[in-house]
Amino acid sequence: MPSLTDFILQGSPVKQYRPGLCGIVDQTGWIAAADALADGHWTLLGLWGEASAAHMALLEEPTATVGIVRLETLENSYPSVARHHPPALRLERAIHDLVGLEPQDLPDPRPWLDHGRWGLRAPLGHRSNAPLKSTAYEFLPTEGQGLHQIPVGPVHAGIIEPGHFRFTASGETVVRLEERLGYVHKGVEALMAGADLGRAVHIAGRTSGDSTVAYAFAFSRATESALELEVPPRAIWLRALMAELERLANHLGDIGAICNDAAFSLMHAHCGILREHVLRAAHIAFGHRMMRDKVVPGGVTTDLSDEAALTLRTLVPEIRQRFPSLVELYDNTASLQDRTVGTGVLRPALARQYGAGGYVGRASGRSFDARRTLCYPPYDRLHFEVPVLSEGDVNARIWIRIREVEQSLSLVEQILEQLPDGPVLTDVPDIRGQGDGLALIEGFRGDILVWLRLAGDGRIDRCHLRDPSWFQWPLLEAVIEANIVADFPLCNKSFNCSYSGHDL
C-alpha cells in the first residue's frame, strides 16, 4: 500500500493545502482508497458530494497526513465507499439526500436526512421540486421470541434536541438500537452557498451551539488556507484561549450531567457552578458567554484587555482548588461507580475503525487529538498531554473529561503567560480567483472538519462541515447492545453527540 501522499500524487492535478493534499482520482483510485480504509491503513475523515463530484477526506495517522481524493465528472452515481467501509454509510445516505448522487451498491439505500418534508429534493445538487414521497421509514427488522420494541422520541421529556431511538429489547436487555436523525436539519450547507465570508462564519458558528468557537475556528482556518492569509500572532493565541474555555465549560457541564443521569444531582449542582464561573469569565473577557461570533477569518473580533486577562488568571486557581474534591466525590461514591464502571463498553477496534474522535475515541484507546497530531498553531508551542484510556466504558469517558479539564486549565494558564502583543485582526484581501481550503480543529467532542471552495467574487461556492458526531452516533448503537434499557441515558450522555451538528 502506498502512503497517502504518494497515493494522492499519483492522481492529477494535485493541490497543496496547508494541512494536506488534494488529488483527483478515477474510479479505480476511488475504490482503492475505499479498500485501504477497510484495511485500516487510513481513517475516514469525511465524505461529501457536489452536483457532479464526490470528495473523500482521509487521514494517515502515523505520518499525520490529511488528504482529499476527489472523483469528478460523475453522471448520477459513484462507487459506494460504505460497501467496503461501513463508517461511510450514513455519510453516503446523506450525500444521496443532499446532492442526489447515487452510491452504487450501497448496502442501505434508505434516506437519512431527508424525511420528505423539505418540499424539494437534492437541495445541493440538481434541485428538483418533487419532494421525496414520505413513505413510512422502515426500521431494521429483528426476529426472535419475546422481543418487544420501544420507540423513544423524537421529542423527549427533557429539554434536549430531537432524535428518534428505536429499541428492540428482550425484557430489559437491549437487543438492537437503531437511531433515526435528521430532525434538526437546517440546511446549513445550502445557506453557505453564495454567502459572503462574514455571513458564512456566522452560519458556521451556529452549526452546533455548544461548539460555536470550534466551528468558527475551523471555518476561519479553512478560509485562511484557501486565501493563504497570515493571521496576527495574538489572534492565533486568543483563538486557542477561547477554544480551551469552551472545552472547559462543556466538559464541566458534561461530567455533572452524566452523574445527574444516574440520579446523583449533587455532582450536577457543583459542576454547574464551576461551568457558570467559566461562562461568566468568558463573558467578561470576550463579551459573550459562549464566545459566539468572536472568531472570524483574519483573526478575532474582540481583544483581551488586561483586566479581563486578570479575571481568567483568577479563574484557573479557583477551579483547580474546587475541582479535585468533586473528582474525589465522584471516585468515592460507590453507588455512582456501580453505574458507570463497565457500562456501555466501546471496543477499541470499533473506535479505530470509525475514527471516533474526542473523549469517545480516547476512552477506547485511540489517541488521536487534532491539537497534538496535526499540531496547528499555537498548540505547537504549548505543553499538554493527551489522556488515553482503554476501558471504553462510561467511567473511562468521564475520566478522559476530568483529565482534559486539568489539561485545559494548564493550557489557559500557558496561553495567558505567552500571549504576544499586537493587532488581533487583519483585513481579508480582495479575493483573487477560486481557491479551496481545508481545516481540522479539535472541538470538545472531537475533530471538526471544514472544507470550502471560494467562488471568484469572494463568496462561498461550496462549504462542507463535518461534525465529530457523524462517527460517534453509530458507535452508540454498538455500545448499548446487551446493556439494559435503563442504562441508555447514561451511555448517551457519556457520548453527548450533537444532533444539530450531525443533522446540519
Binding site: H156, D261, A263, S335
Partner: protein
C-alpha cells in the same frame, strides 16, 4: 383522616425543599405540591383512545385505598376510629391492591413505557411485599398482635427495650419504604428520562384530575410510611385514649417533629447516593427480605433477642 390529607403534600414539599437546599438551590416553595394538585385538577383529562374503564377508575381507586391505609396508622394518638377493623396485614393488602390496579392501568393504554413501568414496579413489589410482611411478623411476635395500636402501646412500655430483631426490622422497613415510595436509589421521582423511570413510566399516560389523584396518592404513601416507622419504632408521646387535651397537643407536636426528622433523613440519603441499576433492586430488596426473615427467626430462637 383529614389530617393526613392536609399534611401529605406539605411533607413532600418539605422533602423537595430540603433536597434543593442541600444542592444549594432555592427550591420550590413548601406549598408547591398543593398548587400542583390544584393546577392538575383544573386541567382537562386527555385519554388514550383505547383506554378502558379500568384506566379511568384506577386513579380514584388508588387514591381511596391509600387514603384508607394512611388513616389506619396512629399518627399522634392511638385510639383510632377504625383501628378495631384493620391491622398491619390489612394495610399491606390495601397497598398491594392499589399497586395491582395501577400496574394494570399502566398496561391498559398499550404504550411501551407503561408496560416497562408496570413490569418493573411489579418486580419490585414481589420482593418488597414479603419483606414487609416478615417485618410485621417480627413485630407481631414481640407485641403479640398485629394491631398497630397494640404494637405501639407495647413499644411505649418499658419492658421491650433494645432488641436485635427490632433493629433488623427497622432497617428492613426503611428499605421497603424507599422502594415503595419510588425514591432514590430505587427510582428517581424527579427524573425526565423516560427509559429509567419505574413509577413515573407507569403513570405516564395520565393527565389532569386523574394525575392529580395519583400524585396525591403518592404524597399520602410517603406520609404513610414515615408515620408507620415513627409509630412503631419511635412511639414516644403518642397520646393514649382517655388522656386529656395536653397529651394530645404534645402528641401532635411530637408527630410533626418525627415527620421533619424523617423528611430530613430521606433528603440527606437521596442526595448522597446515585440511583442503582434496575437489576440491582432485587438485591437491595432481597437484603430487606433477609433482614426481616432473620429478625423473625431470632425471635423464634430466643424471645429476648
Amino acid at each position: 383522616m383529614a389530617l393526613v390529607l392536609l399534611l401529605a403534600p406539605l411533607l413532600t414539599g418539605f422533602v423537595r425543599k430540603i433536597k434543593a437546599r442541600l444542592l444549594r438551590r432555592q427550591g420550590p416553595p413548601l406549598i408547591q405540591p398543593y398548587r400542583d394538585l390544584l393546577r392538575l385538577l383544573r386541567k382537562e383529562v386527555v385519554l388514550a383512545e383505547n383506554a378502558s374503564w379500568l384506566f379511568r377508575i384506577t386513579p380514584y381507586l388508588v387514591f381511596a385505598v391509600i387514603w384508607v391505609a394512611a388513616s389506619l396508622i396512629p399518627t399522634f394518638a392511638t385510639g383510632l376510629v377504625f383501628s378495631w377493623t384493620a391491622d398491619l396485614i390489612a394495610i399491606v393488602a390495601l397497598l398491594g391492591s392499589a399497586r395491582f390496579f395501577l400496574a394494570l392501568a399502566g398496561m391498559d393504554a398499550g404504550t411501551s413505557f407503561g408496560g416497562i413501568g408496570s413490569s418493573r414496579e411489579v418486580m419490585i413489589a414481589t420482593l418488597a411485599e414479603p419483606a414487609m410482611l416478615l417485618t410485621i411478623f417480627t413485630l407481631a411476635l414481640v407485641a403479640g398482635s398485629t394491631q398497630l395500636s397494640t404494637i405501639a402501646a407495647v413499644m411505649i412500655s418499658s419492658h421491650v427495650g433494645l432488641r436485635v430483631s427490632l433493629g433488623m426490622a427497622l432497617i428492613a422497613l426503611i428499605m421497603v419504604a424507599i422502594a415503595e415510595n419510588a425514591r432514590i436509589p430505587v427510582d428517581n421521582p424527579a427524573t425526565h428520562l423516560e427509559l429509567t423511570m419505574v413509577h413515573e413510566a407507569m403513570v405516564l399516560e395520565y393527565s389532569g384530575r386523574h394525575l392529580a389523584m395519583i400524585e396525591f396518592a403518592a404524597y399520602l404513601k410517603l406520609l404513610l410510611y414515615i408515620s408507620l416507622i415513627a409509630c412503631i419504632f419511635l412511639p414516644w408521646q403518642l397520646a393514649l385514649p382517655g388522656t386529656g387535651a395536653p397529651a394530645y397537643i404534645l402528641g401532635v407536636v411530637a408527630y410533626l417533629a418525627k415527620l421533619v426528622i424523617g423528611a430530613v433523613l430521606l433528603a440527606l440519603f437521596e442526595t448522597a447516593s446515585a440511583k442503582m441499576r434496575v437489576f440491582r433492586v432485587p438485591e437491595f430488596l432481597g437484603a430487606a427480605l433477609m433482614l426481616g426473615m432473620l429478625a423473625t427467626l431470632l425471635l423464634f430462637v430466643s424471645r429476648s433477642l
